[in-house]
């Protein structure tokens, strides 16, 4: 009898354990979340499982580096009424068999000619090249512009920046002298590349950003911040930021951004800290208590990724991506600093909370501040006339997301 009772208790405990297994306390009300959920439209032909490295736009075309390089036309007035007319994604032919790319930028060296560059690597890792894409006809095979060949050489992420003196295409380059010998190479015409003095390091650069008004340039590595207050090429070489932003070891920097609205340089790290500094880098503001995923005890610290500044009505809203928890809103770029705090995106009327984006890493942002305006677009809440900007969020293995941002109504995310 006693034995049977014990078995009964064990079965009950097992059932309860099965129900509870793998569960955690919800940061939102379960019924509340269900009640406010809005459908996520998937209105484009892009694979939802791709890993997005970078995105850019040139002319009327978007380009997406996600293993293959994809492109599509921006949306056309009236096209949303007819699914068949919606611009769909197509592939740019890879320049070699099994060549892949995760980095693409648009550079306008002259102010009148937007050019698109992507860095490709061969599958065996031996060949790395920067290629130029024909914007007018992306179906053409890309043209090589800069290369390294050999097992000790590599090219990493590429960046576009305007330091106010020149417009630069900057390339992470490995293999000048010894193993793990990284430096930046720059080009102001897309044809000739040369090392940027003072950038030799034992790790690649995560980001390079510049303020064209002050000519300040910030070079970011995982463990170091270099600053240069007189442009990339002119004057003194970049040097370690002084004062230093105050990275807590073993944290690592993950992203940098210069925001022209608030006139601040921003940094993010993987241990819940944000940093901001005005041009000149005289002082860094840093949140001293790491941001966490929630207010609960022992909630994980947010690992930030990179920033985005999204025009939203009269404001520009700063967003910062996270690793595994979607993104956070910093707030009005005009007034925000690193200590302003971050908040989860508003969920009322939005489909964000129930989207895979909310539990994904945001690995790449792209904002199209000036899409064609005043045309009808289809959102989760039906067809709307749109005059705002469009923000894209790229994720690893969860594809590319698109949202329409204006000064009224909640953000609705759509899948590309």
């Amino acid at each position: 009898m006693q034995h049977k009772k014990r078995i009964g208790y064990l079965i009950s405990a097992a059932l309860l354990a099965a129900v509870l297994a793998g569960c955690s306390q919800s940061p939102f009300g379960i019924f509340a979340s269900v009640a406010r959920e809005r459908a996520i439209l998937d209105d484009r032909n892009l694979d939802n499982e791709i890993t997005v490295g970078a995105m850019t736009k040139a002319g009327t075309k978007y380009f997406l580096a996600a293993g293959a390089l994809y492109y599509r036309d921006e949306d056309n007035p009236g096209a949303a009424d007819d699914a068949d007319k919606k611009p769909s994604w197509e592939s740019v032919p890879a320049p070699g068999t099994n060549y892949t790319t995760t980095s693409v930028v648009t550079v306008d060296f002259t102010g009148t000619d937007e050019r698109v560059f992507a860095v490709y690597a061969s599958a065996d890792g031996v060949t790395h090249r920067v290629y130029e894409i024909d914007v007018a006809d992306p179906k053409k095979t890309p043209t090589p512009r800069f290369e390294t060949t050999g097992s000790d050489f590599a090219l990493g992420e590429i960046f576009a920046l305007d330091d106010g003196l020149d417009v630069w295409l900057v390339v992470n380059h490995e293999g000048d002298a010894t193993i793990s010998d990284w430096s930046l190479y720059g080009s102001t015409d897309g044809d000739t590349f040369s090392p940027i003095s003072g950038t030799a390091a034992n790790e690649p650069y995560v980001d390079v950003v510049a303020d064209p008004v002050s000519n300040d340039v910030l070079y970011l590595r995982a463990n170091a911040v270099l600053t240069d207050v007189d442009g990339v090429a002119a004057g003194a070489d970049p040097g370690d930021a002084a004062p230093a932003p105050g990275l807590d070891s073993p944290a690592r920097f993950t992203g940098a951004h210069y925001d022209s609205v608030g006139n601040l340089f921003w940094l993010a790290d993987n241990s819940g800290h944000l940093y901001s500094a005005a041009p000149g880098f005289a002082a860094w503001t840093r949140n001293t208590t790491a941001y966490t995923t929630s207010s609960a005890d022992n909630a994980p610290v947010i690992s930030f990724t990179d920033f985005s500044a999204v025009p939203r009505g009269a404001q520009t809203v700063l967003l910062v991506g996270t690793s595994g928890y979607g993104y956070r809103v910093i707030g009005d770029a005009a007034t925000a600093t690193a200590t302003s705090g971050v908040s989860s995106p508003a969920v009322d009327g939005s489909n964000y909370e129930s989207s895979a984006l909310a539990t994904s890493t945001v690995s790449a942002w792209f904002v199209d501040p000036d899409p064609v305006t005043g045309y009808p677009v289809v959102t989760a809440d039906g067809e709307q006339s749109w005059d705002g900007s469009i923000v894209f969020a790229g994720t690893p293995k969860q594809g590319l997301w698109r949202a329409l941002s204006s000064d009224d109504g909640p953000i609705q995310w759509l899948r590309e």
Binding site: S24, S26, P27, A32, A299
Partner: protein, 203 residues
């Protein structure tokens, strides 16, 4: 005794025997109505559609709870206290989907009390249940109070087996406090309907 008298007596006897025989047959065919008593038990299995009614709270009432029609099932054990009154325990599970195909699972564990109106071979139990429910979506779980009330219809196929249907209303107050991670303004009242078909075994 004349022949006439003999005929009359024989007719009377025949009539008496026939009447007795018919009476016995009628007695043999009287309907047997089984009764339940303390200690008699039942085990039932229920399956059917799960109908979200509405989710209320946060200043709004969301029709159908923003959920699809789903499915529900349960296993129920009961024990008669009297012929008309039964207490039991029921473990159920339901699923339905959100607009983005997220699955909402609700697993109620309920103590049931039923009063059974009987019109053999049919039973009409009226039940209330109190318990706990486990609501789960994605990797998140919430444990809530659970109330159900409803009625059933059963046809007693034999003394052991009965088949029927249940219609139950589920009320789940999903309460969050200010101290919870979600916050008090995430409190909602879930209202659902369970329509199940049952097989009930008496033992």
């Amino acid at each position: 005794m004349t022949k006439k008298h003999i005929r009359r007596v024989a007719l009377a006897l025949l009539l008496a025997v026939t009447t007795a025989a018919f009476a016995q047959q009628a007695e043999d065919e009287e309907i047997f109505v089984p009764t339940n008593s303390l200690g008699d038990q039942t085990l039932g299995i229920n399956l059917g559609p799960f109908i979200p009614l509405f989710i209320a709270g946060g200043g709004e009432v969301v029709p159908w709870g923003n959920l699809t029609l789903g499915g529900v099932g349960s296993l129920a054990w009961g024990s008669y206290i009297t012929n008309e009154f039964k207490l039991g325990v029921e473990l159920g599970g339901s699923f339905s989907f959100t607009p983005n195909r997220r699955a909402l699972f609700i697993v109620p564990l309920v103590v049931n009390a039923s009063y059974i109106f009987q019109a053999y071979p049919f039973d009409f139990p009226v039940s209330v249940g109190l318990g706990t429910s486990f609501s789960r979506i994605d990797e998140y779980l919430k444990v809530d109070p659970f109330v159900k009330a409803g009625g059933s219809f059963f046809w007693n196929y034999s003394t052991q087996w009965a088949f029927g249907a249940n219609l139950n209303y589920w009320f789940i107050p999903q309460i969050y406090t200010d101290n919870s991670e979600a916050g008090a303004d995430e409190t909602r009242l879930g209202n659902f309907l369970e329509l199940t078909f049952s097989a009930l075994y008496h033992f």
